[in-house]
Symmetry: D3
Amino acid sequence: MPRSDGRANDALRACTITPHISLHAEGSCLVETGRTRVICTASVEDRVPPFMRNSGKGWVTAEYGMLPRATTTRVQRESTAGKVGGRTQEIQRLIGRSLRSVVEMPRLGERTIWIDCDVIQADGGTRTAAITGGFVAMVLAMRHMIENKQIKEIPVKDYLAATSVGVVAGVPMLDLAYDEDSNADVDMNVIRTGDGRFIEVQGTAEKEPFPRAVLDQLLDLGSKGIDELIAKQAAIVGDVLKVKVPTRA
Amino acid sequence: MPRSDGRANDALRACTITPHISLHAEGSCLVETGRTRVICTASVEDRVPPFMRNSGKGWVTAEYGMLPRATTTRVQRESTAGKVGGRTQEIQRLIGRSLRSVVEMPRLGERTIWIDCDVIQADGGTRTAAITGGFVAMVLAMRHMIENKQIKEIPVKDYLAATSVGVVAGVPMLDLAYDEDSNADVDMNVIRTGDGRFIEVQGTAEKEPFPRAVLDQLLDLGSKGIDELIAKQAAIVGDVLKVKVPTRA
Amino acid sequence: MPRSDGRANDALRACTITPHISLHAEGSCLVETGRTRVICTASVEDRVPPFMRNSGKGWVTAEYGMLPRATTTRVQRESTAGKVGGRTQEIQRLIGRSLRSVVEMPRLGERTIWIDCDVIQADGGTRTAAITGGFVAMVLAMRHMIENKQIKEIPVKDYLAATSVGVVAGVPMLDLAYDEDSNADVDMNVIRTGDGRFIEVQGTAEKEPFPRAVLDQLLDLGSKGIDELIAKQAAIVGDVLKVKVPTRA
Amino acid sequence: MPRSDGRANDALRACTITPHISLHAEGSCLVETGRTRVICTASVEDRVPPFMRNSGKGWVTAEYGMLPRATTTRVQRESTAGKVGGRTQEIQRLIGRSLRSVVEMPRLGERTIWIDCDVIQADGGTRTAAITGGFVAMVLAMRHMIENKQIKEIPVKDYLAATSVGVVAGVPMLDLAYDEDSNADVDMNVIRTGDGRFIEVQGTAEKEPFPRAVLDQLLDLGSKGIDELIAKQAAIVGDVLKVKVPTRA
Amino acid sequence: MPRSDGRANDALRACTITPHISLHAEGSCLVETGRTRVICTASVEDRVPPFMRNSGKGWVTAEYGMLPRATTTRVQRESTAGKVGGRTQEIQRLIGRSLRSVVEMPRLGERTIWIDCDVIQADGGTRTAAITGGFVAMVLAMRHMIENKQIKEIPVKDYLAATSVGVVAGVPMLDLAYDEDSNADVDMNVIRTGDGRFIEVQGTAEKEPFPRAVLDQLLDLGSKGIDELIAKQAAIVGDVLKVKVPTRA
Amino acid sequence: MPRSDGRANDALRACTITPHISLHAEGSCLVETGRTRVICTASVEDRVPPFMRNSGKGWVTAEYGMLPRATTTRVQRESTAGKVGGRTQEIQRLIGRSLRSVVEMPRLGERTIWIDCDVIQADGGTRTAAITGGFVAMVLAMRHMIENKQIKEIPVKDYLAATSVGVVAGVPMLDLAYDEDSNADVDMNVIRTGDGRFIEVQGTAEKEPFPRAVLDQLLDLGSKGIDELIAKQAAIVGDVLKVKVPTRA
């Protein structure tokens, strides 16, 4: 059974990362993964949250939103609902935690980088696209901080990208589109650094529990996709981020 | 004293309206007015709010949002704040009221058209751009309804567009950019139909009360700009909206 | 077609402003316009909002409320609803903005004057009555501040009053009562200083767009009414507010 | 030590109940107790809350509010705070519970009477004034229902009034004003029917626990005051409420 | 008519107070009254609320909660509802006020003791059990403060306990279980110190107003129960709280 | 480096599951894992959420709470904060999703089972204890439904339990206590059925990214612990849940 867009099971969707798409933000990019489109901006603020004050360390935090008609049917705005929903909070916690894991906070100084990931159009994989693009926006904001003489070097230890994998109709596949994701037996997000180590692995049996062997296959697929995504990140920020890029891609 | 972008005092900024920018929405466009960028989508729902039920009439309502980093400094999300701010509510009431004024509700049937106006980048004039673009998205959604055999004709009486005018450094000007708007003595929004009549006139003395003569000058400038904007709308929806376009433009 | 209370089309309803109706507030009055009754109090606080701190300037802000049974059918309290509605926020922003436009903030010192306008009974024109009465309460509070040796002079540049005008059954009229307002084709609020200049003009086509000539007629009617209202204000605060009163009234 | 206004320890403050002060409400009065002023309105709604549907019984519920400057220093609106405070909720539960205790709900039919008690000016005793006035507004609304042929008789079993008593500087006193209340050792609210039985007794040691003998004295004082208040109620609604009035007053 | 559990009308339900049931809290106990079970913890915080700062005095405050299935049918969490309900606020104000009445705040220093009363299982009398247990948790936390050298003596003037009494089927009874409470004509909470004086008396006619004689009977019953409860408290904290225990028990 | 309680690296803490601890709930248990204590109740409601109506299927949903002093320092109640925090929402979504994965919804009928997991005392591993105990409470509630003749068989496909694993000081360990968890390099939750397949795997690098080999070790440890936990579940519900129990335990 071929995929709806004819891709191979181990192929990413067409993915482009367009940097500098915001007039105002210190760092920004538009991530497009198939028909999913996410605007990522990074804003630098000269203070940290109360629990970090006087620590000498910086902080990175993320917020995630979706335009009401990014989806097939219109969804009520969370501002109108008066609260941020559980799914949104879970996603923004995941994005923030992932990006923080590769940043050396003492080298950032007592500053916060706010990563805003806003989904303009959704077709599956919005949270992993947000992480992949949020990383680029963050590094671009850091480059702006170097130009502003706020820091001297990019305080980032390694590349970081994310993708989704899953089992659809019994077959493990890379980078699920919405129609695949909504029919998946298993759905997994993989977040990994450039040196091949995991930051986060979240696998969920949507329909059927999955054995260890399937978990292994999914991790292989995810790693292949992440190598390719890091190559795209490196094409944009490789000049300032002096970290080795995985060679497989 | 020339304007920062060299325009004449009675000139609009470069304005483009790009239709069909959303995969999912029944009608959509991207409005760009200078550096201000607003995504407008129109979503059709097969029911009306409780106070309209069994009236046989339709409804048009609008929501307005802004990405946190659409502005020069990051603004907290209204979803995080837990409520929709006063400025936002005032704007979305204005957009909805304006669009409703040109729609013949009984011919729409008991359906709601939701107009979502999301500011991706702000540089002044976001609410008037939202009205101008919201009108286009709404008519495109109605065309989609005709194709779907939900309605037979576009139930719209006339074109509708909006622009801002103001007095800056003592000089009346058309279509203020943010740096002009934030220094204006008087700020006025004009919303007008194609046949030259007003839907809404909102003039505010930000610094100095203004005499009747200035009000007259501002209304003239606004009308000139609106004629030009309606010409742009007509280039997109003129094939389905059988209404005379003002000839001045 | 005569008006329901027999007035001429260019006549205000009977209007009385009763000062000092609050035991506790620094300034207060009860405004009665026909059957509309609004309690206005002005409270002086010895600090300003965070965004004004260390500016050396004062601030004036307004809040607007309505008793649940001020209206023909009972309306839910906004405290019970858990949020301040869009209409209320729009009105209190309008009142605050208008009053601030005639106050010289540096002469007020770093103090806030809170204007509370609470509608005890509603019969149309509550927001304009709130502005007319809020002005009186504010000046009375300033007189109290002079007695308290907080300031030396009333830091107010000019009188300020407001009224509504509109087109009902095709006829321009001054000071609409509720039954007129709810049937109006056009509804306009005019806010003007004593020297005849506008602070705010807000005209809305409720049913039918309106041509420029109608706008001109409505502005004339509004100005006539405002002159009469300022005469009533002057009878109360004219002893302390050394500003010329319009002579037409 | 005489009281600040010269009253005897067992004397009520001057109390007047002015009926029919609202244009719109089915029943209404203004209660003035000393300098405390409360507007009470009763609104009839032709349905009951969900938990009472299809019970054949009516419902009486109360809401209590205070204008921001009813008090010596301005208090934030509960609508602005976004929630109804604990004190307000406690008071409106007390008012509702008290009024319900004298109403025969099956004879009311499936209707709700909303009692709104809004404090225009506060000087102690607002909750008991609200109960005393709320009772009058409720009976007046029922009279309106008789005129409307919704019910045939006033479905009320007995008069109901309330007052506060307390121990100030060691001395039991009736009807505490704010300056007395804020210095009281013991504060008690007594709510009683015309036939001398209690609906609610709430005594609180604010500073010093109180022995049984003091409780007895306070109940005596409260009963004396309530008899006098019921006489004032009877002067207004005695023509329609065919219940014996306590003879002591 | 015997009681459902065979008790005499003047008998408490079996009541046990188990101290030190929390690993983390400075003071804690589990109160069981019949089938009602309440966990009480006391937490010491080294600061006071803003309105008490620089007063040199301490503060005691209480919060009350109920597990969703503590009751016969599941009740929605207040966190999910987004607000603390009126009943909960009324109860936590009552608990806090009662406990504060026996504490000498200057001897506590500028510290807050938070009393958390969480109902694990409800069968009537949860608020009075919370007061009785909250007192024990508070004194145990103070003992911990002595061990920590934060204070030298227990700053408590007297024992404090609470119980409910009521009239069921015409008969005055002590310590109502849920089935009794929900059928009671009169429901009263009595809160009293060890020396026999009242802190709070709250009697409510749920069905029928009650005469003075019944009030007297209920106060007698309540006092008997409170003496017995104080004896149970003294068995736990009598070694550190050097206050005379009522001898009747 | 031995563990603080002397356990082997592959040993669970002492774990007991006490069923039927709630008077009112259809199913309930207390789970104790070391010093972590969680009350789990299952409540049966005879309807499903709106999005499931008329589907013929049932629903299982979970809520998670924590007493304010379950933790080493007191945490503000979410009801007082006015909203359910991100961490809580993430946990309750995880619990609900996990339990739903083993239930055959059509056999449940249009009913909802609410699983409430309330942490009485926290010492690490509360979310996995909640899942392990929530499963037992759910099956007990289903047994109650069989007794009530609502269903004929337990509609559960397999056992389900959860535990945490992690890397502390470089060493993979099973079932982290709080002091271990707060110092972990990697933290992973494993949720698995009785037949050895995964429902959810969530691994997070708290400090250091982790290689594939460590992931494998952690999955082995988790599986060992889950087998032991399922044996404890089977001792309670094995009589009604006719599913094979893993033999390793």
